[in-house]
């Protein structure tokens, strides 16, 4: 298992620390605090919300997301379980049918593979089949850049985006992390909430107040621009912002669209950015082939074809498992330099 909360030599640690606006304000809350606050506020707000997962009570979570929760809410709201991802998701589904709003923690999102059948066949299909809502949220640390190796670096979103009945969100900032988690918990459907563990304590920024949510299904322009668009989410937002900043120095004006919700996609926002810039790089940390970039590129090809001034480019992780050793991981995962150079190609087209 990965050493929680560290990962000192990650590919773009040096970039993301100290460059983005957020990380320049060390007194502001971190991304992970956004997650913790959302959970706490929703637990306080709605007695039907409870948390369930491995080592989330006494231990307060492998990444300490639930710090202090067991004391505050007690063992009927913060449930430690055996190591049984499938049963945890199944039990959450049963509880949801009884009117509860369980929030499942996967210790690492990689272990969600053990709950695959319960998610895609049980939870996702119930409302369609017999009309009962299944308001469960499944959250957990995803992503690489921490030398987690092949089993602690997964970005599994594309699999789940192909499952009717699921919603999938992937916040890139503390604000979105908090606001989207609140929306996920209040949503009447199963929502997969992918938090990026590399961002946990590396980025800081303001958080929304207790009554503010970030709506599911709405993308956000994180940086407006006129010359080209990067359509991305999660860790990719930070790579894109860094690349855009570097290119701004050269006089290029790059827009960064943060999808935030991966299912359902905000098609209007995607088409709108293409209409503004005519050139698109789709960027994600998950493997290229079969990744969400294909879906986005296809939507653009279908709905904004006439407006395209260049082929839609994709940049993503290589089609390999995510290797452990630093030089290998750096090779496989996207980095700012590669984003910048892809954007240059696009801008020159």
């Amino acid at each position: 298992m990965v050493r929680p909360d560290t990962g000192t030599r990650a590919a773009w640690a040096s970039h993301s620390e100290g460059r983005s606006a957020e990380s320049e304000s060390p007194e502001l809350p971190t991304y992970i605090q956004g997650i913790t606050e959302a959970l706490r506020e929703e637990l306080e707000r709605d007695p039907s919300v409870f948390l369930i997962g491995e080592d989330i009570g006494t231990y307060e979570g492998a990444f300490k997301v639930t710090k202090g929760f067991l004391q505050q809410f007690g063992p009927r709201r913060i449930l430690d379980t055996p190591i049984s991802e499938s049963a945890i998701v199944g039990a959450a589904t049963g509880a949801a049918l009884m009117g509860m709003r369980p929030v499942v923690e996967m210790q690492f999102i990689d272990f969600i593979s053990c709950a695959w059948n319960q998610i895609v066949n049980m939870a996702a299909k119930i409302h369609y089949r017999w009309g009962r809502a299944v308001p469960i949220t499944i959250r957990g640390p995803s992503g690489g850049y921490t030398h987690g190796g092949p089993f602690h670096s997964e970005n599994p979103e594309a699999w789940f985006c192909h499952v009717p009945g699921l919603k999938v969100v992937a916040p890139s900032t503390g604000w979105d992390a908090k606001g989207l988690l609140k929306s996920a918990i209040r949503d009447d459907n199963p929502v997969l909430y992918l938090e990026h563990k590399f961002l946990y304590r590396r980025i800081r920024g303001p958080l929304p107040g207790p009554d503010v949510t970030v709506p599911i299904g709405v993308a956000e322009v994180k940086r407006p621009g006129a010359d080209a668009s990067v359509i991305t989410y999660g860790s990719g937002v930070h790579l894109a912002l860094e690349a855009a900043a570097a290119l701004a120095a050269e006089g290029h004006d790059v827009e960064v669209l943060d999808l935030r919700t991966l299912r359902p996609l905000d098609r209007a926002a995607i088409v709108a950015t293409v209409e503004r810039t005519g050139k698109v790089l789709v960027l994600h940390e998950a493997h290229l082939t079969g990744g969400l970039g294909g879906e986005v590129a296809a939507l653009i090809a279908e709905h904004a074809f006439e407006r395209l001034d260049a082929p839609v480019m994709r940049l993503a992780a290589a089609d390999t498992p995510v290797p452990y050793s630093d030089p290998l991981e750096q090779q496989v995962l996207p980095d700012t330099a590669r984003v910048t150079s892809a954007l240059r190609t696009l801008l020159d087209y």
């Binding site: 049963a87 039990a91 009884m98 066949n121 009447d188």
Partner: protein
């Protein structure tokens, strides 16, 4: 919940005599009626299938009626059940209108799934029914979660589901039962050991001599009962449910029985030795219960015939109505992937 047929009195109730195992004569008659209904329903499904009226699979539970009816009848109104494909008797005992049940097999708009799923794959929380999925054992964690909710909310309700000898080999059997056991949930699991899983004999599913031997590994109670004795099944489930309700945790009940037909209608079960079937035929749960009631003078020939007639009438009426029910409109297929209306939720 008006129509749920599960109100049996506490075990200790002074029953109007004559009674059997704490059950009153009207209750015994109801069990008899429900088993006959279960069989008649299955037989009619089989006929509809042979007539080409059912486009999916058609599953029967001939020989296993005591398992479904006996266990469902032991529950309280607010308990929650998760029936599997061979538990049509559970669904009928919970009181789903027979017409709606036929309609589900027939893919009609009037069924609990509106034609989106078939056979026993139906849920209706007003009757405390959670729908299964095909993937065996997946319902066990879900019903454990139902039981967990009862425990968290301090409700004296029980969650129960069923599993086959074959389904017990799937991972979720273990994860779900284990979760229920370590959390001491008000949960009952009935394992219907009907000797076969499709064509596969029990020996390929489990090397233990009894499935109930698995209970010890979970630190819970395990019992093996004669699955063709409706009163034995009823008693075992009642007892397990009582223990669950009073905080004693889950019970694994193995009901030993026999699948008297093929896996589904397409399967002639040629792999089952005929001698085995012949032997089990003698233990038919319905005939056996009937003989018992008759011998104890708890059922007159007239009452018996009247029940048969009632069942035949009800089945005939329901199937005719269901057959005249409309198919769903194609375009509605695109609705309802996501919950949007708040009626989808609510206390259960």
């Amino acid at each position: 919940m008006r129509s749920v047929r599960t109100k049996s009195p506490p075990l200790a109730t002074k029953a109007v005599k004559p009674a059997l195992r704490g059950l009153t004569r009207p209750q015994l008659h109801e069990l008899h009626y429900l088993m006959l209904l279960n069989r008649a329903f299955d037989d009619r499904i089989s006929a509809l299938y042979r007539q080409g009226k059912i486009s999916g699979g058609a599953f029967g539970s001939r020989g296993q009626e005591a398992c479904s009816v006996g266990s469902a009848y032991a529950l309280e109104e607010h308990d929650v059940v998760g029936p599997m494909i061979r538990n049509s008797g559970v669904i009928l005992t919970r009181g789903l209108p027979i017409r709606k049940f036929f309609a589900n097999y027939l893919g009609r708009a009037t069924s609990p799934t509106g034609g989106r799923d078939g056979n026993t794959h139906l849920g209706d929380l007003s009757l405390g029914i959670v729908a299964p999925i095909s993937h065996l054992s997946s319902l066990i964690p879900v019903l454990a979660g139902v039981a967990l909710t009862f425990k968290l909310r301090g409700e004296k309700r029980v969650a129960i589901t069923w599993i086959g000898d074959g389904g017990s080999s799937v991972g979720d059997f273990h994860e779900g039962l284990n979760l229920a056991s370590v959390m001491k949930l008000p949960f009952v699991l009935v394992l219907e050991n009907n000797q076969y899983a499709y064509s596969t004999p029990t020996s390929m599913q489990c090397a233990a001599s009894k499935f109930s031997d698995k209970a010890a590994g979970y630190g819970i109670r395990g019992v093996t009962v004669d699955g063709n004795d409706v009163l034995a099944v009823h008693h075992a489930v009642k007892d397990a449910a009582n223990r669950a309700r009073s905080g004693d945790g889950p019970t694994l009940i193995e009901a030993v029985t026999m699948r008297m037909k093929g896996h589904a209608e397409h399967d002639d079960a040629g792999y089952v030795p005929t001698a085995l079937l012949a032997e089990w035929a003698k233990r038919d749960p319905i005939e056996r219960f009937r003989r018992l009631l008759r011998s104890r003078r708890l059922l007159t020939e007239e009452e018996d015939r009247a029940t048969e007639d009632r069942v035949a009438r009800e089945i005939e009426k329901a199937v005719m109505e269901a057959l005249s029910d409309p198919f769903p409109d194609g375009p509605t297929a695109l609705d309802g992937v996501y919950a949007e209306r708040s009626e989808d939720r609510g206390p259960a």
